[in-house]
Symmetry: D2
Subunit: 193 residues, 4 copies
């Protein structure tokens, strides 16, 4: 049995660059990887998997909440890489988990742990429940030099905000990676209920 | 700022022994630790923190869902250790997180990641959202030699079961640590909704 | 192929208790483990593997520098656990590595990373070269609350000392786990050549 | 006190890309990083730190075996990143370790663990002795899908070779990342003495 990995990190931790590095490594060894991402992440164009640090690739498959994966489509694949995995549905995570079974291959999912209210996303929740390996992609807090673990949403003008839907796409003008201390100084975590 | 740790592992992974070893280390250095656990875990007597491998200690404080922790009670403490942390309430986890703030001390929580239906507990959910460090206590699957990540509930007679409440206390006659493969062979994870 | 693990930690980090917990877990699942240690560690009696926190077991095999391991002696074994692995010879580490090959089993070695002069031991050096997985057993510094990574030797009377042979057996009256800062304040690491 | 990190991985594990991602993250937060590398690595031009996956930056400082680092040159720095750290001298590693002391900053070193004969380099040895955190950058074996931990040197024509000096610069035409099994099938590790 192969493994299911969840590599989580806050905004701007270079998760996508990390994913593209793994894809590059597999391919330079003559191995076959497939890149997947949720369809709703269309910031860089529907099928683009782009890192702000400079690299880019094309997703082989876009995932919807009700996508049915066909194992026959993955015969001969050595590794499956999923970007923005926090947006996956429970059902899709469970199908990815099934793909690791004999004769299977590793599935490596990159994504946020929590939203701007410190709550798990649907996809990150199911990944934290089912992953064989939970690994961290690290970045420092925007406001100090501690490690960031949470994400702050910034309103127009840059002020921190608790308003809006759980999912609003945006980059580093819209979200900042922060440590617990710097988050809690703005919005008390105890009050988030 | 000190750190909040979540050290998760399936049933019978020696989490409690690990906790008692950390307590022993602090104390042999002349440092002060406090041991906490949820009140509902009364398997070994209300205030006992006991490992099946052989060591035991007394909890300094039992935690209820609505416990209000008073920081004044923890002045001078070097480390706080929490057993069976999956059973903590969201509110108690948030208070533990607050205790790590300046002048704070590390809080190390040991607990299960998921229940017998592969779902997070209330406490493990909030810990996975707020912990600075997510670490794994490892044990092999009861049925093969892969690493276990899930917990199987056993009915009387030892047959695997999906019946009953999320929380039913029990030891290794009632639960078995299993890998995804051995769990899924009994209850398809895709069918758990 | 199974894996070779090196779980390193400074003095008094409860490495042996950790080892005994793993042995207990395997045995409570009806699996076969074998406990090994270098013969030269005779602090608790030749064949005893004892943790200062309270548990104890008997070593199945004592290892000398020139021991030749016979794979036939390990048929049916599920896991091999080695205590005080820093004292192993290069040749013995290489034989342990060979035992992980098909049809093999995991070999988990516990030991110190460095001696009281901040230098690798023969066994820890070869393990750091050949291990699939390098993991840390943590303990805080004797003098502050940072993580310890080095070992200070204490002379009679408790004063730190750089004198003597690399190997002089002793417990927490003879060695103290320390962080870099607290070590370097006593003996400048730059001056150790 | 800040931490000293050693992030090791075999050839072609994208260590440099990882380093450049960390540099990018610090800089996009308005923080100051300094990039260092040993002078002897001149594959991409003296001062270039280049990843085969596509990104590149300029080293701020080239390190010789007898370089004396002046802490005054690093005032206000938030993080120091070192590439090809296996080639550092013991003395330079010890100076980097000193830079983490109060008021210090984190030093993150990327490098190979071992050479093509499975032996530590001078720099990786001292880093494994003194690092607070030993982390792994992963890549699969060139010949199978297990994780690689060793490096095979390839002679002209591509045949594996044990000949030559410890240090001969080269890329993926000259070295291949391999697992223990695939290495040992070519050169028995027990015979390497």
């Amino acid at each position: 049995m192969a493994k299911l990995y969840f590599r989580h990190g806050p905004m701007d931790s270079a998760k996508t660059l990390n994913l593209l590095a793994v894809a590059h490594n597999y391919r330079s060894q003559g191995k076959r990887v497939r890149l997947l991402k949720p369809r709703l992440d269309d910031r860089f164009g529907d099928a683009s998997i782009a890192s702000r640090a400079g690299l880019e690739a094309k997703a082989d498959l876009l995932l919807d909440h009700d996508t049915k994966l066909d194992p026959a489509d993955f015969v001969g694949v050595d590794c499956l890489l999923v970007d923005e995995a926090q947006f996956l549905s429970t059902a899709v995570v469970e199908q990815l988990r099934q793909l690791t079974k004999e004769p299977g291959f590793p599935v490596i999912c990159y994504g946020l742990r929590t939203d701007f209210r410190t709550r798990l996303f649907e996809g990150s929740r199911r990944l934290l429940e089912l992953a064989d390996s939970i690994e961290e992609v690290k970045v420092t807090c925007q406001f100090c030099n501690r490690k960031a673990i949470l994400n702050l949403r910034l309103a127009d003008g840059g002020a921190p905000s608790l308003d809006g839907d759980q999912i609003e796409l945006g980059g580093n003008e819209r979200y900042a990676p922060v440590c617990f201390n710097c988050y809690d100084a703005r919005f008390s975590v105890s009050g988030l209920g």
